[in-house]
Amino acid sequence: MLTAYFDTNVFIIGTLQPDSNSRLILREIKKENFKVILSDYLIDEVMHWFKINKGKDFASMERLFIMSLPSSVIVNDFEWSLFIDDWEDFVADIDDLPHICSYFAGEANYFVTANRRLTEMKIKDHVNFMSAKEFIENVCGYDGIDTVNGI
């Protein structure tokens, strides 16, 4: 089964933007055609953003949504930290490292993000980065929506 790691921005945009490729991805996840790799770090980020910007109730609902995603696996800090030594020299911002390491720990095939800066780091030669639009078109096999950065 294909496996994908979706960055924080995919969950936030997918939740808030009806006409976005990220929303299409959230719908695709329900079909269980691929496995979703999550991490404690990712869930913390999503929760923090929603708490700050949408309030506690919305954040709790988002948490429940993420925790109930079918075909998902959560990589915890003990697991992703095992990969830090291998990949820290390939990432310019150390705080991005948990996401990269979770991608490797979860043996993901795709890393979906709108974060162009991340996709331009040295790590790009080892991680299969793609935008939400590219994921919809190349993996799900239908036309994505034209949006800024393919979000």
Partner: protein, 88 residues
């Protein structure tokens, strides 16, 4: 693992259908099927509710995306400090 035992009334048809899935090896037992089905239903109901809440949101422009990425970066930096303290 903490778990609750809940009794669920199923129609004979549904119950037989689940038994069939178990027999053909799709699920290890009836309980696994029910857990799977409930998780899917919860996810679907919440996604519908979240979609409802964001129905009137206008499309994001480049500056909105940039702002969002900056906000996430700020959160990421703070979170990393906590995680790094635990890991190293």
């Amino acid at each position: 693992m903490n778990s609750n035992i809940d009794v669920v009334r199923l129609s004979a048809k549904d119950s037989a259908m689940i038994d069939k899935f178990v027999r053909v090896g799709e699920f290890q037992n009836k309980s696994e099927f029910v857990t799977y089905a409930i998780k899917k239903a919860i996810n679907e109901v919440i996604l519908r509710e979240l979609e409802e809440k964001s129905r009137t949101t206008s499309p994001m422009a480049q500056k909105d995306v940039d702002n969002l990425l900056t906000e996430i970066k700020e959160i990421r930096k703070k979170l990393w400090e906590g995680y790094a303290h635990r890991i190293f």
